[in-house]
């Protein structure tokens, strides 16, 4: 119902983008990364003018507070009051899932970044959803690629919540495809502090590798190291998180795993620009895990608008965006036609100590190509 009124503005005037992100709450650091990246991306894609063909592009950031009901409220406000042409966001999968139906109702393109749940481009998919972020399955495929081979025995460890179960299910599928066997799956209370019983069971299962899916404030790394898991011949593997969390991973130096992004992993001009510009604007800080995602989202929107010649008509945009490839700090991304998931590069890495850096640094082993990490299509 709200869509018809904004139709008039679609050819003229300012193009408005609503960005939903966690600016407070548990995921606020992700929110900051995304919004900074988005701003930079807009400047990059429009050469700093924030205009295409004379039409101004404006963006409005709204804080979801990492709460679904707030996300819906804010999204509705963006769609009705501000009459935005695009939605971008958000930091939490839950918030994003709650907003997905609104995109359909108001017929607006929703560029999902950096929410990771498979269901966003899977069971909950609608045609207005495009995702520049990688999803859990891509993570899993990348994780599997780093360690799974024929005959390898792998134990997994994850929080006992949707994120953990999603991640492990996807990982298992990918790893078994590569010939590995999952010998033990361990799930722990995500709010717990004592993981020793879980780790004990993993030790008892005697796997070759322990693959860990972990996000959240409390981390198991100290306890894994205290219980001498590595000394017992079990190699640990996981995804490298953002810099703040890398600091908790000192006991894991030497670990092989994967990364979504670390500022010196990609080797391309866009990334060079990003690192430099980010440092300039934000007094020397480096772009972090989800900064390039925010940037990619902005670039994808501008690219799409270029293709539709500035039309914000959603059907035209969908047509333009399906299968669209665009350059991002992580190299070329492509929105897969079937489920609008951006296929993208991920990185096989090893954590190493580096002089002058007070956390273990992900060092590139090899790039995992977009094709290699392409996840299964699950929206049908």
């Amino acid at each position: 119902s709200g869509s018809s009124s904004s139709e008039q503005s679609s050819e003229e005037g300012t193009i408005k983008i609503g960005v939903l992100a966690s600016m407070t709450g548990a995921l606020e650091s992700y929110g900051k990364q995304t919004t900074r990246g988005f701003e930079l991306g807009l400047d990059y894609a429009t050469d700093g003018t924030r205009e295409i063909d004379g039409r101004k592009i404006e963006f409005i950031i709204e804080d979801t507070e990492t709460k679904a009901e707030v996300a819906v409220q804010k999204a509705t406000k963006l769609l009705e009051q501000d009459q935005v042409d695009f939605l971008v966001g958000s930091s939490s999968s839950v918030d994003t899932l709650a907003v997905v139906p609104l995109a359909e109702e108001y017929k607006k393109i929703f560029v999902v970044e950096p929410a990771v749940a498979d269901s966003i481009t899977g069971s909950e998919f609608n045609k207005y959803v495009f995702r520049t972020a990688r999803n859990s399955s891509q993570d899993a495929v990348a994780g599997a690629a780093a360690i799974a081979k024929k005959g390898v025995k792998i134990a997994t460890f994850a929080p006992d919540n949707s994120f953990g179960h999603d991640g492990i299910t996807a990982f298992k599928e990918a790893a078994e495809k590569l010939g590995a066997t999952i010998t033990h799956e361990e799930f722990a209370d995500p709010a717990g502090t004592d993981f020793t019983s879980n780790i004990q069971k993993i030790i008892n299962a005697k796997p070759d590798y322990l693959f860990v899916v972990w996000a959240g404030a409390n981390s198991p790394w100290n306890q894994i190291s205290d219980m001498k898991v590595q000394d017992k011949g079990i190699t640990i593997s996981t995804g490298a998180p953002d810099i703040a969390a890398l600091k908790t991973m000192k006991p894991l130096v030497g670990m092989e795993g994967f990364s979504v992004y670390y500022h010196d992993l990609p080797n391309n001009e866009v990334n060079d620009w990003l690192v430099k510009e980010h440092k300039d604007r934000f007094n020397g800080e480096l772009p972090d895990l989800f900064t390039p995602g925010g940037m990619s989202a902005a670039i994808s929107i501008v690219e799409a608008l270029k293709k539709t010649e500035n039309s914000t008509d959603s059907d035209k945009l969908i047509e333009a965006m399906e299968g669209m490839s665009f350059e991002t700090p992580k190299g070329m991304m492509t929105f897969r036609k079937e489920d609008h998931q951006a296929l993208q590069t991920l990185y096989s890495i090893k954590l190493e100590n580096k002089k002058g850096v007070d956390y273990p640094v992900p060092v590139l082993i090899r790039e995992l190509s977009p094709k290699e990490t392409a996840p299964p299509i699950r929206n049908k």
């Binding site: 799930f187 209370d189 709010a191 019983s197 981390s219 100290n222 703040a244």
Partner: protein
């Protein structure tokens, strides 16, 4: 057998840690009957201030002292401005302490930023001893020792001084205690400050154990502390330490043998205890 010992020791350490958390609350909630939802805030502040000092000076001891100091200071402020107007009124306590909790945890982020901070134990407490197949993590052994010390201290304070009595009497009938010539306001203040200092200390001690600290850590841990105080029996420090140990050890074994239930374990223990012993495991006489 080794497995049994390992699980028991780890459970015991976790239990002691929970006890450290709950000790301050035993005074503030159990004894003084203040529903202090800001307890988690005091705890988080102890954690951040202590860790900050620890990382700054590289001295773990300095961190501990710093945490205790900030606990005392915050305890003073909290009691004077937040708690004093609402003694005896649980409904108002909930509202005002929740408000203060928000203020505390947001201020934390203003000062130290919203990111999590990684903490490791000092070198002399890092690593573990391995005796046969039994693994004892040094920092956990340390926690157990501190927990027992803390228990001894509070036990002594409550048993061998009149403070415990006066506080209990003051909660029952404040005017009467005053009429007996006791400055109950001041005693409440001191006891509150002691409770806050314990919260802050346990915040500091939990940091290397958990490996990271973060702005929202307070509330989660505070709920656990409330659980322990209640199932231990209100105001009973011995009850608290036993309840905490129980929660720790059951949690440890459940996580091993019935992992499906480990999410629910704390709530299950509490539900079972309260259904079968509605006054808590070790209720005070009377």
């Amino acid at each position: 057998m080794e497995l049994f010992i390992n699980l028991t020791i780890n459970g015991l350490a976790t239990g002691m840690l929970i006890f450290l958390l709950a000790a301050g609350l035993t005074l503030i909630f159990g004894l003084m009957s203040v529903l202090n939802f800001a307890h988690g805030g005091l705890f988080a502040w102890g954690s951040y201030a202590g860790v900050w000092l620890y990382l700054l000076t590289n001295s773990f001891i300095a961190g501990i002292i710093g945490a205790i100091f900030i606990g005392i200071l915050l305890g003073f402020i909290t009691e004077k401005w937040i708690i004093q107007p609402v003694y005896g009124n649980h409904v108002q306590q909930i509202l005002i302490t929740l408000g203060f909790m928000i203020v505390l945890s947001e201020l934390l982020k203003v000062i130290w930023g919203p990111n999590q901070i990684a903490v490791t134990p000092p070198a002399y407490l890092t690593g573990s001893w391995e005796i046969g197949n039994i693994l004892i993590i040094k920092y956990r052994a340390f926690i157990i020792v501190v927990g027992l010390l803390m228990y001894g201290l509070i036990y002594y304070m409550l048993k061998h001084t009149k403070i415990g009595l006066i506080v209990r009497a003051g909660v029952i009938n404040k005017e009467m205690v005053q009429s007996l010539g006791i400055n109950i306001k001041r005693i409440f203040l001191y006891v509150f400050m002691a409770g806050a200092a314990m919260a802050a200390l346990s915040g500091m001690l939990i940091a290397p154990y958990a490996g990271v600290i973060h702005g929202n850590m307070g509330m989660e841990y505070a709920i656990l502390a409330f659980i322990v105080v209640v199932i231990g029996g209100m105001g009973n420090i011995t009850g608290s330490i036993l309840a905490a140990t129980l929660v720790g050890i059951i949690g440890s074994f459940m996580a091993y043998y019935v992992p499906e239930l480990s999410l629910a374990v704390n709530m299950l223990i509490m539900a079972v205890v309260l259904l079968f012993r509605p006054q808590g495991l070790f209720a005070l006489k009377g």
